[in-house]
Amino acid sequence: MKKVSILLSSLLMLLTISAYGQTNDKLVSSKTHMKFYSHTAVEDIEANNYASVSTINTETGEVVFSVPMQSFEFEKSQMQKHYNSDKFLDTKEYPKAKLKGKITKLSDVDFTKDGKYSVLVEGELTIKEKTNTITEKGTIDVKGNTINVQSKFNINLADYGITFAKGKPSTNIAKEVEVTVHSEYSAE
């Protein structure tokens, strides 16, 4: 009788571990914040997006962000319309941008142990179906079941086919825009 119960409990434990391990492979976040910031002598422009979805595969180190482009909000509605238009990001034609990367030294990160880990992510950023390779620094902050990822990097608008030859945009929008990323995952 005792043997059976030991067998049963160990089986149960095994099952729990395997189930836990499976859900743990991929962290999913829909609590995200992405910010564009453009600085010129004329004005500073900022746009915020809280609707991206992101995953981190803790086994392979793969990081993915899918960004709904129409969710970027500007202070001025005129700016927002301009940003969405076919002269700028053409969000009707290209509703989503994507960041797909890999943590370079995954062995440095222990997703099960509290701590702040500095990482390098190598990958590709696709905006308007134009893909460029990126290598960016970020931090992974593990606290209990909550994992926060933060990163800040610059992108060159011309790399994504966004250029302004003349007029207000050419003077008021920076050629290089700062992107801030923050996402929160919970290991369930």
């Binding site: 609590k31 809280y50 992101s54 995953t55 899918s66 053409d90 989503k96």
Partner: protein
């Protein structure tokens, strides 16, 4: 006669300048569209819009998204399946049918948040908001993404 013509011309020019300048100033400072007081373009269920997107994403984007970002205003009815909050402290209510692969994420605002605070998982509600993006399966995420509806509020029946 010449003097009079000059006077008329300069008054016209001045008026033009004021009107033009005013229009430009108005355009520049024009407020965002008030979604809640605007007319509803489509009223449908979360299941309907999700299946529309999953069967033909491009046709659905053509129908619902606007090139200037002022996309269609929807009234979506569905079952509350999850309530959360985003980094902007806005309530996010997922409307999703029990057998659906994806749902509609309705994002509330600072002004409408309180209307979502008493919602319970399992109840059927109708929300009004502006669509920002559609539902689709993403190969890299390896999951279905929900329709995103922003500036949402609950529609009282």
């Amino acid at each position: 006669m010449k003097k009079k013509l000059f006077k008329i011309a300069s008054i016209t020019a001045l008026a033009g300048l004021i009107i033009g300048g005013g229009a430009m100033l108005y355009m520049f400072n024009m407020p965002h569209r008030d979604i809640q007081s605007a007319k509803v373009d489509y009223a449908l269920t979360s299941t309907q819009i999700v299946s529309e997107y999953l069967s033909d994403k491009d046709a659905a984007n053509e129908k619902y998204l606007a090139a200037d970002g002022d996309s269609k205003i929807l009234e979506v009815t569905g079952i509350v399946s999850k309530i959360s909050e985003d980094f902007n402290n806005q309530k996010v209510v997922l409307l999703k049918g029990n057998n659906d692969k994806a749902g509609v994420n309705a994002v509330f605002t600072a002004e409408t948040n309180t209307n979502a605070s008493n919602l319970k998982v399992g109840e059927t509600i109708t929300v009004k908001g502006v669509i920002r993006s559609g539902a689709s399966y993403d190969d890299d995420l390896e999951l279905y993404e929900n329709v995103i509806l922003e500036k949402s509020d609950i529609v009282q029946n």
